[in-house]
């Protein structure tokens, strides 16, 4: 799986995405802390080919793809998706009218 790149790059991109998702207090969010702790825990190992490290890297890359594509999908949706019909009040307002108010309800 050479397409994954280095773990550092994935980690940085993932933390950036979490920052976009969380807002102000992103450093205290459980996701941020969990990701950092997981990467730290798998850093030091005596094995040359660490399977757990690769699994973690793949999971991080998958989560990064999820966050990124959700953000892009939402942006596209906001830009292109239709807003639906106007309500009768808005339609009346287009030509300067207001709908009559009937205190007791209709009929």
């Amino acid at each position: 799986m050479a397409a994954l790149g280095t773990p550092l790059r994935t980690l940085r991109a993932l933390l950036r995405e979490l920052r976009h998702a969380a807002g102000r207090s992103y450093r205290d969010s459980p996701a941020y802390r969990h990701v950092l702790a997981a990467f730290r825990a798998h850093r030091v190992t005596s094995e040359k080919l660490c399977r757990a490290q690769q699994e973690l890297h793949f999971q991080a890359a998958t989560y990064l793809c999820l966050l990124r594509s959700v953000r892009e999908h939402e942006a596209l949706h906001r830009e292109y998706h239709g807003r639906g019909e106007r309500s009768p009040q808005e339609v009346a307002g287009l030509v300067g009218f207001r709908l009559p108010q009937q205190p007791g309800g209709k009929g």
Partner: protein
Amino acid sequence: MSSVAMWRGCRRLWWAHSPPARLPRPPPVDAGSGPVGSCGRRAYAPPAERKRFYQNVSISQGEGGFEINLDHRKLKTPQAKLFTVPSEALAIAVATEWDSQKDTIKFYTMHLTTLCNTALDNPTQRNKTQLIRAAVKFLETDTVCYRVEEPPALAELQKNEWDPVVAWAEKRYNVTIGSSTSILGPNIPASTKETFVSHLASYNMWALQGIEFVITQLKSLILSMSLIDRHITVEKAVLLSRLEEEYQIQRWGNVEWAHDYDLCELRARTAAGTLFVHLCSESSTVKHKLLQD
């Protein structure tokens, strides 16, 4: 794409709020005639959006697993069961989804929550055997097994991109799959299906729901298995699944509001499904080794 109509139909499946809060009804229509439904709502109005009603999202551990708290209320599934997940990482990811909603709650972006709800409620009420059967049934109509004969550029592209994946699957699971250009598709021997059935039986129920979801999104059992076995990345799997579309996009041009929209949605769903499967089927233990110096 009439996504609005689709969401309206699925709206009942996605309400996850626990206390008996009434759904906010839009104000009654004053003007008389028009496409007014029996409950006073217009037929084509989008559903009233749920505002974000909580400030903090946190996780707590209960008897069955990890639970999500919205402020002080516990999250529940659409069938009013308590929302419990077995894995802490999954709970954190779901909490992040809920926390990243601003102003309004957009359920169509919360893929992990939807998957957890499906696993907990099992609305289609299928048991493990039925799920496995539905998953393996996709092999007969697997995308990477269906090849075209013309245009030759596309046939060549399919051969170059899809053949390695099929070869990998055949080697990994010790089966014969093959590919075909006929309308009936490849002839999958029964032993191949048996192998896949027994392999899928080793996953638990939650992971199987995730696997079946990924297969339905990618329209291919082989691509899903290579994704779950970490042989290819999510982006590559989505690219392979949409190979013909990508070819046509390169030929005729890209339409952002259709192609990119579908691409992002497919990537999001596939990534969510894969992450769900991995988080539900792993068990991590930490072994501390003593440093000897």
